[in-house]
């Protein structure tokens, strides 16, 4: 009995060894990625999962506090939930504004005309700009004391006093506009690729049937674009949840949290933004917040995938 087991194990090991020999190129190529993934993804995730149960400020030794960080999130930290509301408002606003504009621009630029390539490049340009530089430029345009936008509006007699675009009431909407401006070019390219993949013979048949351009848009173009739309919505959602650079530069989440988003709040727990005041890092609480934020985004993504499953069935 034992001999047969040994033989069995030996033959299995032989098979594994043979398999490795045959595919060693593949394993060799995967190996660096596995190491990178372990170092930069698995290790940080394990670190977060450990320290979410601790009070840890990197100066004193970590203190195990059980679930207190989570109790604090759900019962004693209304500011965090304010940032969650702001985040969803920002993501929703950016999604609702970006998609139609990017789609319309893609439809217009899909037609060949003199300078269409140049126009595509111009629309795409904000995408390759650094978000921080973009935010600084927008500060110069929007600030209420010398901003170009107010100056133009006042010269056109559209307003009589400068508008504070970045105050408590306007900051988040302004940040959405800045985010939209930076994103349109990117999603326009996706839509352009989608539009160019729609078979031309469908349009030719529609032309023979005498179908007008508006009906063609709603009955052919948009339905044919649905799979790519699903991907684009997913990309806008994920990237919008992660947008913090422009907010950090433009408003630092202020005034008084009016434009603060959840990942900026988490970031501040690890790296308090302060040039002149004493501040303490809260690594443990930050880790717990990261887990809650990731769960929220995971839930949204799952809901979205479930809602759009029908699309996959049709196409």
């Amino acid at each position: 009995m034992q001999t047969s087991m040994k033989q069995n194990l030996r033959s299995r090991l032989k098979a594994v060894g043979k398999g490795f020999k045959e595919n060693k190129q593949i394993y060799f190529m995967i190996f660096p990625n596995v190491i990178m993934f372990a170092l930069f993804s698995i290790y940080p995730i394990c670190w977060v999962l450990k320290y979410m149960f601790y009070q840890y400020d990197k100066i004193n030794a970590p203190i195990f506090i059980g679930l207190d960080n989570f109790v604090r999130i759900f019962t004693r930290d209304p500011y965090f939930w304010k940032t969650v509301v702001n985040t969803f408002y920002y993501v929703g606003g950016k999604l609702i504004i970006t998609l139609p504009i990017a789609f319309v621009i893609a439809v217009l630029l899909n037609k060949k005309f003199l300078g269409s390539r140049l126009m595509q490049s111009i629309v795409f340009m904000p995408t390759i700009m650094s978000a921080s530089v973009m935010a600084l430029i927008f500060y110069l345009i929007l600030n209420p004391y010398s901003g170009a936008l107010n100056t133009v509006l006042m010269k056109m007699k559209l307003i009589s006093v400068p508008i504070n675009w970045l105050n408590y009431y306007n900051a988040l909407d302004t940040i959405i506009i800045v985010g939209v401006w930076g994103a349109i070019g990117n999603y326009m390219v996706y839509f352009l690729a989608g539009l160019q993949s729609v078979p031309l013979d469908i349009y030719e048949s529609a032309d023979l049937d005498g179908i007008g351009p508006v009906r063609k848009m709603f009955c052919i173009t948009i339905p044919m674009m649905t799979p790519i739309l699903k991907t684009v919505v997913m990309l806008v959602l994920i990237s919008s949840f992660q947008d913090i650079q422009s907010i950090m530069v433009l408003t630092e989440g202020g005034p008084n949290g009016a434009s603060d988003v959840m990942f900026l709040y988490v970031y501040r727990m690890f790296f308090p933004i302060s040039a002149t005041t004493a501040s303490t890092s809260q690594f443990g609480y930050g880790a717990a917040l990261s887990v809650v934020c990731a769960s929220l985004i995971g839930t949204v993504t799952m809901l979205y995938l479930r809602l759009t499953r029908k699309v996959d069935d049709i196409f």
């Binding site: 203190i63 004391y145 202020g254 790296f271 501040s279």
Partner: protein, 451 residues
């Protein structure tokens, strides 16, 4: 074969020589990080001179950071890419050096250097030391004053520099009422970062008017924010009057200074150690400006706090401690400090520097730049406090800017007291916060009554 061997030997010898020459030429780099921008030209000049002339084969790499300095520093330390020497002004000493990231200098400092800096009187626990370990060396003393535009005061007929809350609020309103149509406003504050804005107003006013450090009473060992509501109310008053520069809620200190330099702001609060350099080098201006006293309610309870007693610390993990100390000794040498002091780039706290310098033009022009009898270094309030919810800067900024939900100042102060004292008690109980209580603390003699 013999030829080949000779050839190989010659190549090896040549390679060894070349490596040796390269090694001899490779300089020891000492990286210095700072957040001071106003004295950049001067400091870069003295550093270039050192790099060209020093015989120790050392090269100083001088890097200047902006408002995110503390963040960059934290990141540098956490990733093992921190500088060899770092600037500790403001809260950096409390946040970085004091908790244990600075190299103690006791064994490196010579007796002559110790005496040069002022001996025992110049060194103290929480000021530049911890538990007898010297973590930074004395340099300057800087405090906060009212900065005002004399030209604007002349235009609206203000003949006396305002000193009390009511006088400053009235002056701000007068300026805005008379000159607002020209885009000139009475008062400005950099509330984009409430900590930066109230750290240069409220914190200093709390010390002078109520003898509290960051709201903390050293004698009772409790936070008492309820006592300082009139200061917050005064700052909010100017917003309610419409006397503030548009967009204060999203203004950083440097954009504020550019607007002051353009003659569009009547008054703001800032540091004696920075503004002269700012308006001489960073944003040169023809505006006639000066310092006025820090505003109060007319009754002084304590000396006004002054940031001083420290400048640079050496990273305890530096790989070149000796070279770093040599660089620190150069940066804090009499020649370098006298040059900076005479150019008005800092207000020296070192008697030997003051004695060996001409009275700086800056102090001749702006007498309140100099240290006054009412200015003093203060001990640190408890550090490493983990307060749940918003800190007092954000809460009071909310009231000042009239943000919905922040209307009831007394309720806000009571809530701050509860949260800060709870955090203090919890920190002391779990050993992460060191209790700081001086039962006989006298705010009129803050350093003398620490024991």
């Amino acid at each position: 074969m013999r030829k080949l061997l000779s050839f190989l030997c010659a190549v090896t010898l040549l390679a060894t020589c070349l490596v040796g020459v390269a090694a001899a030429e490779e300089k020891t780099k000492v990286v210095v990080w700072t957040a001071a921008r106003a004295d950049y030209d001067y400091m870069q000049g003295v550093i270039d001179k050192y790099n060209e002339t020093n015989t120790s084969n050392i090269e100083i790499v001088y890097e200047v950071y902006s408002d995110n300095y503390q963040q960059v520093l934290d990141l540098g330390f956490d990733t093992g890419n921190g500088p060899d020497i770092y600037y500790t002004a403001g809260p950096v000493f409390a946040n970085v050096s004091y908790p244990g990231r600075a190299l103690p200098l006791n064994d490196m400092l010579t007796k002559e250097q110790y005496e040069f800096f002022g001996g025992d009187a110049a060194f103290g626990n929480t000021i530049n030391m911890r538990d007898g370990k010297i973590l930074s060396l004395p340099y300057s003393i800087s405090t906060v004053r009212l900065v005002y535009n004399q030209d604007i005061f002349d235009r609206v007929g203000i003949t006396k520099v305002p000193e009390t809350f009511e006088e400053v609020a009235a002056a701000a309103k007068l300026i805005t009422d008379k000159l607002g149509a020209e885009g000139i406003y009475g008062f400005a504050i950099n509330l984009k970062s409430p900590g930066s804005a109230l750290g240069r107003t409220l914190d200093y006013m709390m010390q002078a008017t109520y003898g509290l450090a960051n709201g903390y009473n050293f004698a009772t060992g409790r936070y008492e924010f309820d006592k300082v509501t009139d200061i917050v109310s005064f700052l909010g008053q100017m917003f309610r009057d419409g006397s503030t520069f548009p967009g204060c809620d999203q203004l950083d200190i440097d954009p504020l200074r550019t607007q002051f330099a353009a003659g569009r702001i009547g008054m703001y609060y800032s540091y004696t150690g920075a503004e002269y350099g700012v308006y001489t080098n960073q944003f040169p201006t023809d505006v006639k400006w000066d310092f006025g006293p820090l505003t109060g309610n007319g009754t002084r309870t304590g000396l006004q706090g002054a940031d001083g007693g420290k400048w640079y610390s050496i990273n305890k993990d530096t790989k070149v401690p000796d070279a770093a100390f040599e660089v620190l000794s150069y940066l804090e040498s009499q020649d370098v400090l006298v040059g900076s002091y005479e150019q008005g780039l800092h207000i020296s706290s070192i008697d030997a520097v003051i004695k060996n310098s001409e009275v700086p033009t800056a102090i001749q022009k702006h007498p309140l730049m100099a240290k006054q009898d009412t200015d003093s270094v203060w001990p640190l309030s408890p550090t490493n406090l983990v307060v749940e919810g918003e800190n007092y800067y954000n809460v009071f900024a909310g009231y000042i800017m009239q943000i919905p939900g922040y209307e009831d100042l007394n309720a806000l102060a009571a809530d701050l007291n509860t949260r800060y004292n709870t955090a203090l008690d919890k920190g002391i109980a779990d050993g992460t916060v060191t209790p700081v209580v001086y039962p006989n603390f006298d705010p009129m003699n803050p350093t003398g009554s620490m024991n």
